[in-house]
């Protein structure tokens, strides 16, 4: 799988919230309703530099 393919990593993660991934983008390490809550969740797992991704209610091709 291509390293930038995070589709299976986030597919079954919580929805309608921010996901915190580890810096290598290989694992969801926390989530939260706000970016700060997601960061706090990652820190509690010892991940100091998470990267955040919005997880929508439905993963669908979207035009904003």
């Amino acid at each position: 799988m291509h390293p930038a393919d995070i589709s299976e990593i986030v597919r079954n993660a919580p929805r309608n919230c921010w996901l915190a991934l580890n810096d290598e983008e290989t694992e969801v390490v926390g989530h939260g309703d706000t970016v700060d809550l997601a960061i706090d969740a990652a820190h509690k797992k010892g991940i100091k530099k998470p990267i955040l991704l919005w997880s929508p209610e439905e993963w669908i091709p979207t035009v904003y």
């Binding site: 995070i6 589709s7 299976e8 921010w18 700060d36 955040l52 091709p61 904003y64």
Partner: protein, 149 residues
């Protein structure tokens, strides 16, 4: 800088490719205001369809904007007929990947479900961007525009 798109999931197969994923051009960005900067970066979508750089409301709080309503107010529409929203604009510092720092007027809509969009005003006037779909996966190339200071 040249980097791969990211693949994100689809709940239903893509009607064209049949795949349960699709590729999107994300960049890592942090938003800051004054001396406050987001503690972690977010994935922001590089979006030529967006007239502005737009972020969810909670990003404003994380970036140190205490009262969103102190910004310049405007309206923003949606592709969905009749849908529009109030949007507050604030001058913020945008840290793009680990390479660039720019000042932009960013919008924070009250209700539209935008996550983080890098749009024409604020982003595309700072960078020349190439979306290369000739490769698999697609690539995005971002080159800062050299302006005399």
């Amino acid at each position: 800088m040249r980097k791969s798109y990211h693949a994100v999931p689809l709940d239903k197969p893509n009607p064209i490719t049949g795949e349960l994923k699709y590729w999107v051009p994300y960049l890592r960005v942090r938003v800051g205001k004054g001396h406050t900067v987001m503690r972690s970066p977010i994935f922001a979508l590089v979006d030529t369809g967006s007239p502005y750089c737009l972020f969810r409301q909670d990003i404003a709080a994380a970036a140190g904007i205490r009262d969103l309503t102190t910004g310049k107010v405007g309206e923003i529409g949606s592709v969905k007929k009749g849908v529009k929203d109030v949007c507050y604009f604030h001058k913020v510092t945008l840290y793009v990947e680990s390479e660039w720092k720019i000042e932009v007027m960013a919008g924070f809509p009250l209700n539209l479900s935008v996550p983080a969009l890098l749009g024409r005003h604020g982003f595309f006037d700072h960078f020349l961007v190439t979306f290369d779909h000739s490769t698999d996966p697609p690539m995005i190339e971002v080159v800062p525009i050299d302006r005399p200071s």
